[in-house]
Amino acid sequence: MNATTSLAGSSPPKRESHGIANPERWVDDHGDCLYRYALLRVRKPEVAEDLVQETLFAAVRTVAKFGGRSSERSWLCGILKNKICDHFRQLGRETPFTDLEFLSDEMSHKFVPQGFWNHECGPAEWKSEPEVVMHRTEFWQTFRQCLDKLPPRVADVFMLREMEEQDTPQICASLQISQSNLWVMLHRARMALRECLEINWYGEPATRKAQ
């Protein structure tokens, strides 16, 4: 009798709000984060929304296999990355000539005619360690701004490679470019990003002091 009373008096079951069985909660907990990433990658709000929705549906289908090895967010983020890769593959859009030509002089002004660095404008030393830098919100804002300065297709190529971690054959197939074009675009994207970070993050004395 006592046992029954205590059972009846115990707190209501919490299974509804916890556990894996509540995908609707994902929308509130991770929706904005997934949307921000998708928007960074595809730029169009309606496409980004679709990608988030597809991600959540795919998550419902595969939730049984998700054993909680990683956090829920990084699991969902991983699914979104796959959806982004699918998106670019389905788009199958050719790369505009202007984007292939981006930074085609490869900063020749930084080199002397013999091909060595003009020592006045060679790479400066980045004084702060990556671990320190990555803790700063302002750093990520600067990094984002530098990415935004790349032409869309160059940014796509760079992010498919470095964020979705696709390899050369996959990207070449999705974007219909040759390996040498891809590597040239990656080279120029990295060169432009390096320059942008050096000027806008590492070069600013105030920022450096604050670290």
Partner: protein, 117 residues
């Protein structure tokens, strides 16, 4: 040939910096027999896509003896790769856009239907 050579700057951070005639000739020798900096930067980017042959890795090591700038460039490319790889985790720090409320409701609705066929 000599006058058109890139002069060593003040406070040259490289290991070898033409402080004597002998050092100068070593620097020039290395400069002639390793890739030029303009080529090095492309080679370094490509090395993130495919490992370089041993001989090229050796040439770069030797080149770095006369060129601290290319060595920095290599280090910074690796840092950029790390930063980009970590960006998705830090997306909340670099953008504030929100999934519109109506889209959220719509998604919840379809997830509910999806779950109870």
């Amino acid at each position: 040939m000599t006058e058109e050579f890139n002069p060593s700057p003040k406070g040259n951070p490289s290991l070898l910096k033409r402080r004597s005639k002998l050092e100068t000739s070593v620097v020039k020798f290395i400069g002639r027999h390793t890739p030029k900096c303009r080529e090095v930067v492309k080679i370094l980017s490509d090395s993130l896509e495919q490992p370089l042959p041993l001989s090229m890795r050796f040439k770069l090591r030797v080149h770095y003896m006369i060129c601290a700038w290319c060595q920095r460039y290599e280090k910074q490319l690796h840092q950029i790769r790390r930063f980009a790889g970590k960006l998705p985790e830090h997306i909340d720090q670099c953008s504030r856009e929100q999934l519109p409320e109506d889209a959220k409701q719509r998604m919840k609705e379809s997830l509910r239907k999806h779950r109870q066929p």
